[in-house]
């Protein structure tokens, strides 16, 4: 706490009129910071000045050409005036005056070189940062067949540009704040004025301002701090690497939170159904989009329940499946030494381990692991008589099903919930599965994301929004925006835009 107080006192200190004092103070702040460069020079051979920048974060070429060269070659008639220098001499577009030490520190850490001049109580900050950054790539976790291929990167300014290029209206507003005592990470809130509810924006801002942490390295930190239900396993904010998803959410009245240093944007509020949607649902035809959505809903249940249902039926309800099926399952289970529940647990746990190993390992070794895993689990375990072939199938289908869910954060939840359900299925049979399902559904009904019920539009039911959750209706039929909180901008687009041959006569 002492340190924080010191910092706040420092921030209020204005720059001294003497360059000597300023340099002394700044050198003490930047003691043992080998990457901070102090470059002393004279403006017009007379006035003392210093240029401060972080090595490798500023564009040195621009410093040389547009800051140092004009200043050092200046012919001075009188004391240099900051205002005049900015207006006449410095050929840098993004430039501003700074007045406090705190400004100096924050500008320098953002990569903006600072010029301090003797006998001036103000300094100049030139916005010419430059550092190494990753080029735009297609996000590997959210690939699409049809759709834009750019993805967010670790640099905030680039990410903002990506969104600004998609939504050019000046109504797209950006509010910036810093979080993290040491990391001083820049976080921006983006929304579209007139579509996003004002109270929602305030709420997001308030929650973000409450965060007091040493550092934010990923948007996941923020998510945990501002989540409505901190103990719920379900993600209450949507995270994405795709600018098109972020832009689409902005257009629906959501707020996008971008964090410097990570390509993952947070979108609030979100509902459970948005977590099950892929951007491609909207890019391909609506019939295909609808069918693929249904497929996803079915496999959502499969991913959650298949091993449990298999265990429950095989240990409690053998009369429920057709005779021939039971006979072939019985044949394959004849040699298996474990009860069905243990068998299922072994397979599921080793499958999860394989998957985790595959993610951690470098790509070329990762594929080797999956081959070994497939052989060990699939082939060898069956022929050794440790697990039955139908169980391998059930586990494999479950695995495929969990990959069908487009958001990784949602599919992890299903992976976790699968295990308690399996225990319930092994002890209480189908009754146990129903109990687990009821518990999950009741829990989901209690969830809210920034005031929006998690299961909206099905619970509470909103008829006009069902066309974008149960099905994916054609674009020309989306006449209203989704309704998040009380006050909202209803009309998205006018009626009667369905294309037809009659339109040509109008």
């Amino acid at each position: 706490m002492v340190l924080v107080e010191q910092q706040t006192i420092l921030s209020k200190d204005r720059l001294s009129i003497h360059l000597h004092d300023n340099v002394k103070k700044l050198e003490s702040i930047y003691a043992d910071c080998a990457d901070i460069k102090f470059r002393y020079f004279l403006i017009g051979n007379e006035s003392k000045a210093v240029l401060i920048y972080v090595d490798g974060m500023s564009n040195v070429e621009e410093i040389d050409n547009n800051l140092l060269t004009p200043l050092m070659r200046l012919e001075l008639e009188k004391e240099p005036d900051i205002h005049a220098l900015i207006e006449n001499t410095l050929t840098v577009s993004n430039i501003k005056e700074i007045q406090t030490y705190d400004d100096v520190v924050s500008e320098v850490s953002s990569g903006n070189p600072i010029i301090l001049i003797d006998h001036q109580s103000k300094g100049i900050s030139a916005g010419i940062p430059k550092w190494e950054k990753r080029s735009l790539q297609e996000p590997t976790t959210e690939t699409v067949v049809r759709g834009p291929r750019d993805g967010f990167i670790e640099t905030l300014s680039t990410n903002i540009v990506l969104l600004r290029r998609k939504i050019r209206s000046p109504k797209l507003k950006i509010k910036s704040l810093q979080i993290g005592r040491y990391s001083q990470t820049q976080v921006v809130i983006m929304y579209i004025e007139g579509i996003a509810d004002q109270t929602l924006i305030e709420e997001v801002q308030n929650r973000l301002n409450r965060i007091d942490i040493d550092g934010i390295l990923e948007s996941g930190y923020i998510e945990e701090f501002i989540k409505d239900h901190p103990y719920s396993p379900f993600p209450l904010m949507l995270d994405t690497e795709r600018p098109d998803i972020a832009a689409a959410s902005l257009l629906e009245g959501n707020v996008v939170i971008l964090t410097d240093g990570t390509p993952f944007a947070l979108i609030a509020p979100t509902t459970f159904y948005s977590l099950l949607q892929s951007p491609e649902d909207y890019y391909e035809g609506f019939i295909i989009g609808t069918l693929i959505r249904w497929l996803r809903y079915v496999f959502l249940l499969v991913a959650l329940l298949l091993p449990s249902v298999y265990v429950a039926i095989l240990t409690y309800h053998q009369e429920m499946i057709p005779t021939t099926l039971l006979i072939s399952v019985a044949k394959s289970r004849e040699q298996i030494p474990f009860p069905a529940l243990v068998e299922a647990l072994i397979m599921e746990v080793s499958f999860e381990a394989l998957r985790e190993a595959g993610i951690r390992l470098p790509k070329n070794i990762g594929s080797a692991v999956s081959i070994v895993g497939a052989l060990v689990i699939g082939q060898a375990a069956v022929s050794a008589g440790l697990v039955s072939a139908p169980m391998v199938m059930a586990v494999a289908i479950t695995g495929i099903a969990s990959f069908l869910i487009p958001r990784y954060s949602a599919s992890i939840v299903l992976r976790i919930l699968r295990f308690p359900i399996m225990f319930l299925a092994g002890t209480l049979g189908l009754v146990g599965i129903m109990l687990a399902l009821l518990t999950i559904i009741v829990h989901m009904c209690t969830l809210r994301s920034f005031g929006v019920p998690y299961l909206q539009p099905l619970a509470p039911i909103r008829n006009s929004e069902l066309k974008d959750s149960i099905i994916r209706a054609p674009w020309w039929s989306f006449k209203k925006r989704p309704h998040w909180t009380d006050d909202y901008n209803k009309v998205r687009q006018p009626n009667g835009q369905q294309p037809s041959p009659l339109k040509g006569k109008e």
Partner: protein
């Protein structure tokens, strides 16, 4: 502090929930490896006091890997096992049978029940009671009466199907004979007349004399029951007439001989529906069988031009005659000779004339043989086939 209390609270709840599961759960847990899957069961009369219960148990061997399946692939000889035990009742016999089986008897997939002739003649109601009452036995299972001992039938090794239960199930699915499930049988037994009918099976003589067991049992007719006691058998062609009366006709080929030409015309019945319409007129009990059927010509050995609509139309009354002939034959044997009401006449009268029925129901045995049967048969020949 808050987090800690939540964790402590949560742990307590977690252990409570876990203890609930382990204390109350699992009591009827059964692994498939510990179950004796019974696919068919047979009831035989041993003496006046004792019956024998035989079960067909499926042996789940040789499925695991492909090479094991190859070994047992021929003949399926090792796939099933027949075990039997005697007892005063079926339940008693089952208890004794369990002693002889290392795995728990599992009735959930029993689709076929076979009663032997002796037992059927003595009365089946008590045994059907077990099938209906036992919680794991299904009401969907099909019941047959066998001319030989049920145990002997169960021991057959069908060359084409998995086991005998599969054979009988598939055969009755053709609906060429009666198709009676436990539920239907129970309904007939508690019905107004209390008379019932069950499919009658006999063992098909094996083609290969060296392997006498490699054959099947098939439906050759219908066993007719007065109340729950078997009184006679009708053969399969008469059974067809019974099916018309019971509105259970599904498909069949009817051959007619048109007058004034040589040869026959065979038609395939595609769709048939019948309905019993009762009437009491001047104290006379009359039943009208209203039936509508549609059929296609499948063979024509005559010189008639069936593509001519007039000719086609002229065949329809002949077809109706033929159908009526079949039904009359069934009626003669069952109604007049055996005096068993397996057609549901009693129900029909009860529904239409509840008051009269309540007064006369004790005299139904006297009324029934004299109920007159009238016909209202509509036959349509829809298509004449590809060539003509």
């Amino acid at each position: 502090m808050k987090l800690r209390s939540i964790i402590e609270n949560g742990l307590l709840r977690f252990f409570l929930i876990c203890s609930v599961i382990s204390l109350s759960g699992c009591w009827d847990r059964n692994e498939v490896n510990d179950l004796a899957l019974i696919t068919a069961a047979g009831f035989d009369m041993v003496s006046d006091e004792k019956i024998e219960l035989s079960v067909l148990v499926f042996i789940p061997k040789g499925g695991g890997s492909s090479d094991q399946a190859m070994e047992s692939g021929n003949g399926g000889a090792s796939q099933t096992l027949v075990r039997s035990a005697e007892g005063k009742t079926v339940a008693d016999a089952m208890a004794k049978l369990q002693e002889k089986l290392p795995r728990k008897i599992f009735w959930g997939h029993t689709d076929v029940f076979i009663l032997d002739e002796e037992l059927a003649k003595k009365g089946i109601a008590g045994h059907v009671d077990f099938i209906m009452r036992h919680p794991t036995l299904r009401e969907r299972g099909q019941i047959f009466v066998s001319s030989q001992k049920a145990k002997k039938v169960l021991k057959l090794m069908p060359p084409l199907e998995r086991d005998l239960s599969e054979v009988l199930k598939e055969l009755s699915q053709h609906k060429l004979g009666l198709n009676i499930t436990t539920k239907k049988l129970a309904q007939m037994l508690i019905g107004d007349s209390g008379d019932c009918a069950l499919p009658w099976i006999t063992i098909l003589p094996p083609e290969n004399k060296e392997k006498p067991k490699q054959t099947i049992a098939y439906i050759t007719g219908t066993a007719i029951f007065k109340k729950d006691k078997m009184i006679g058998i009708i053969d399969d062609s008469v059974t067809r007439g019974v099916l018309w009366l019971r509105n259970e006709i599904l498909l069949g080929v009817i051959t007619i001989k048109p007058p004034k030409t040589d040869g026959y015309i065979s038609v395939n019945v595609l769709q048939a529906q019948s309905k019993l319409v009762p009437k009491i007129q001047n104290g006379k009990w009359i039943i009208t069988l209203k039936s509508v059927s549609a059929s296609d010509i499948v063979q024509n050995t005559t010189k008639l031009d069936v593509s001519n609509p007039v000719v086609l139309k002229s065949l329809e009354p002949l077809l109706a005659k033929e159908i009526e002939k079949r039904i009359k034959k069934a009626r003669n044997q069952v109604q007049e000779e055996m005096k068993a009401d397996i057609f549901g006449f009693a129900e029909a009268f009860h529904r239409k004339y509840p008051d009269v029925w309540n007064k006369k129901k004790n005299r139904w045995n006297e009324i029934y043989p004299n109920v007159e049967l009238k016909f209202d048969t509509k036959c349509h020949i829809r298509r004449q086939g590809l060539t003509s």
